[in-house]
């Protein structure tokens, strides 16, 4: 009786999870599939594959400038968030910090503030200090999300470094800066690289803060997709979406080669 119940329960669980996995995967796969359809409408490419929507995407200066802005803001986000996150992670793992718990909470705090609040807050503040409408403005907002994630990744990577190697270098007379530069940094290079990739992915995909902060000159891809998505379900949106998916998947594939994803999320 109990065994039958257990089996039924497990079956129900597997069924529910199959639906969940479908819910997670099908929209992505369909976006990719629709983007290579020759049809004017949303349709699967049943008898022919066409790159016409990509041709239209790469032939339109508005989409192209959105793509360039996206990559530029992504690069700036990496440039801002990685040094900041790295230094904070070093402070956490190598030194005794007072207010450790409070500091850690403060760093991840922006993740728990609704994006519309951060977006509109940044908009009013950036306008007041005169950086509104520049790519830096978007990159600073994206860094609010990127810094905590870089910090978390690097804290766990730095925590895994064998301290005796650093102590040996210090014992041989290396200055702390040299120990960090020549011993620690090479040891955590993979982690730093993953941090860079995560920050870039966060930025490329961030939408809500970008919606508030972008101006016609700094419009990123997600913001350019936004007005098209609700009323015009044309496959050009699928092509634009697929460009983002391809950028993200390529970066993830690189990251997966470098580190064990399972170790990163700390599961045994």
């Amino acid at each position: 009786m109990a065994a039958a119940l257990a089996r039924a329960g497990w079956l129900g669980l597997v069924l529910l999870n199959t639906l969940t996995v479908g819910l997670l995967l099908i929209p992505l796969v369909m976006s990719l599939a629709v983007s290579v359809s020759p049809s004017e409408f949303i349709a699967l490419p049943t008898d022919a594959v066409s790159l016409r929507w990509y041709a239209q995407f790469f032939g339109d200066p508005r989409w192209l400038s959105a793509l360039v802005n996206t990559l530029l803001v992504g690069g700036l986000t990496v440039a801002i968030s990685c040094p900041v996150g790295l230094l904070a992670a070093v402070a956490f793992t190598r030194y005794h910090l007072k207010w450790r718990a409070a500091a850690s909470t403060a760093i991840i705090f922006p993740l728990f503030v609704p994006s519309v609040v951060l977006g509109l807050g940044s908009l009013t503040f950036h306008r007041a200090v005169g950086i509104w409408g520049t790519p830096i403005s978007l990159a600073l907002a994206h860094s609010l999300w990127a810094v905590p994630l870089v910090f978390i990744v690097l804290k766990s990577t730095l925590g895994g470094v064998d301290r005796s190697v650093e102590e040996a270098a210090a014992g041989l007379g290396a200055t702390p800066l040299r120990v960090f530069w020549e011993v620690t940094l090479p040891l955590v290079a993979a982690g730093v690289f993953v941090g860079v990739l995560f920050a870039f992915i966060i930025s490329v995909n961030e939408f809500i803060m970008s919606l508030f902060l972008s101006t016609p000159r700094t419009r990123t891809l997600p913001v350019a997709i936004w007005p098209q998505i609700r009323y015009l379900l044309t496959p050009i949106v699928a092509a634009a979406s697929s460009v983002i998916i391809v950028i993200t998947l390529a970066i993830l594939a690189i990251a997966a080669r470098l580190v064990n994803m399972r170790r990163l999320v700390e599961l045994r």
């Binding site: 119940l5 497990w10 597997v14 999870n17 969940t20 997670l24 995967l25 099908i26 369909m30 976006s31 949303i42 349709a43 801002i80 900041v84 230094l87 904070a88 402070a91 030194y95 005794h96 910090l97 760093i107 705090f109 728990f112 503030v113 609704p114 994006s115 609040v117 951060l118 509109l120 807050g121 940044s122 908009l123 009013t124 503040f125 306008r127 860094s143 910090f151 301290r163 102590e167 210090a170 014992g171 290396a174 702390p176 995909n205 939408f207 809500i208 919606l211 997600p222 998505i229 609700r230 379900l233 699928a238 979406s241 998916i245 993200t248 994803m261 399972r262 999320v265 700390e266 599961l267």
Partner: protein, 313 residues
């Protein structure tokens, strides 16, 4: 364990000049200061500034009245808040937003727990695959996900076209723009975090407890309900908390997969700010949204802390 800073000081004579000596002694502070400055300047200040703007008066009309775009600097008024609490429309929005937050939190946690539990029980290969699938949405654009939803389930989407083509239905079946689709959309957006949190807690359970319960004659159902589930509750609470915080802040799913009756406070912030160009009102609503989260989440966290303290005795 030897602290490097100590090793350094013995290896390197202290410098006499004040600033550098101070820097040498306070290296942790120096390393931490960039992030502190960053958070103060670009997180705290914007939120404070948002509050200030919410207390400014509206430019009126198109948003460009009186020569001031968006809000009138230097003015102090409670009008925006008064308007919010007087207006039925805004009050309804606030109530619905909280309801959606609770619904999202519960639905996401349920679905995430199921997936996390299978990840916990799965072999290494399937574990890796499921984990990868679960965190995929986190690395995907929100809009791409929502677009995929519409492509599949929309009135002119693939599923409806298939149904129409096969003659199963005559009219497109409405599958999106309702509460169900909004919640499904929110689940997809929050699930990666919830699954990770719950899976981490499940994996931290000592497997010996499992074996002990089974050795004492408990069946798999009892092992789950009396060992695994109670021990994984901390993860469940974190998931509920995350689901609520992000569900209350929901913007994209209600807007793209809902209808005017399923709009949330976050959608209203966008409409006031980006459509009506009334930043002051948008700021007031954004601030109320944040206040709702703080007021509802803090007691919940306090409750959890009390419970944890009680459990420790």
């Amino acid at each position: 364990m030897v602290d490097i800073s100590l090793a350094r000081r013995t290896a390197w004579p202290a410098r006499p000049d004040g600033l550098i000596a101070w820097a040498g002694r306070h290296r942790a502070v120096l390393l931490f200061s960039p992030v502190a400055v960053f958070l103060l300047t670009f997180c705290l200040f914007p939120v404070l500034f948002l509050f200030r703007v919410s207390l400014a008066s509206n430019p009126g009309g198109t948003g460009y009245g009186e020569g001031h775009a968006f809000y009138v600097p230097g003015t102090w008024t409670l009008d925006n808040y008064v308007r919010f609490f007087r207006d039925d429309h805004f009050r309804q929005l606030a109530i619905f937003t909280v309801e959606l937050g609770i619904l999202t939190a519960l639905a996401t946690t349920f679905v995430s727990y199921a997936l996390a539990y299978q990840i916990y029980r799965a072999g290494p290969r399937l574990k890796g695959i499921l984990l990868m699938v679960a965190i995929l949405p986190k690395f995907t654009n929100v809009l791409v996900l929502m677009y995929g939803f519409l492509v599949v389930f929309g009135a002119h989407g693939l599923l409806n076209r298939l149904l129409l083509a096969t003659g199963a239905v005559r009219e497109p079946v409405p599958m999106v723009y309702n509460l169900f689709s909004v919640v499904l959309g929110e689940i997809v957006l929050i699930l990666p975090y919830s699954v990770l949190v719950i899976a981490a807690v499940l994996h931290a359970i000592d497997p010996a407890l499992d074996d002990a319960a089974r050795g004492l004659g408990a069946g798999p159902v009892r092992v789950f309900s009396e060992v695994t589930l109670p021990l994984s509750l901390p993860g469940v609470w974190v998931s509920v908390l995350l689901g609520f915080i992000w569900g209350v802040g929901a913007f994209v799913a209600p807007y793209l997969l809902g209808n005017a009756e399923l709009y949330t406070l976050a959608v209203e912030v966008d409409r006031q700010t980006n459509w009506r160009l009334n930043w002051a009102m948008g700021a007031a609503i954004a601030f109320i949204l944040m206040a709702i989260i703080v007021v509802l989440v803090l007691p919940f966290m306090q409750m959890q802390r009390d419970k944890a303290a009680e459990a420790r005795g």
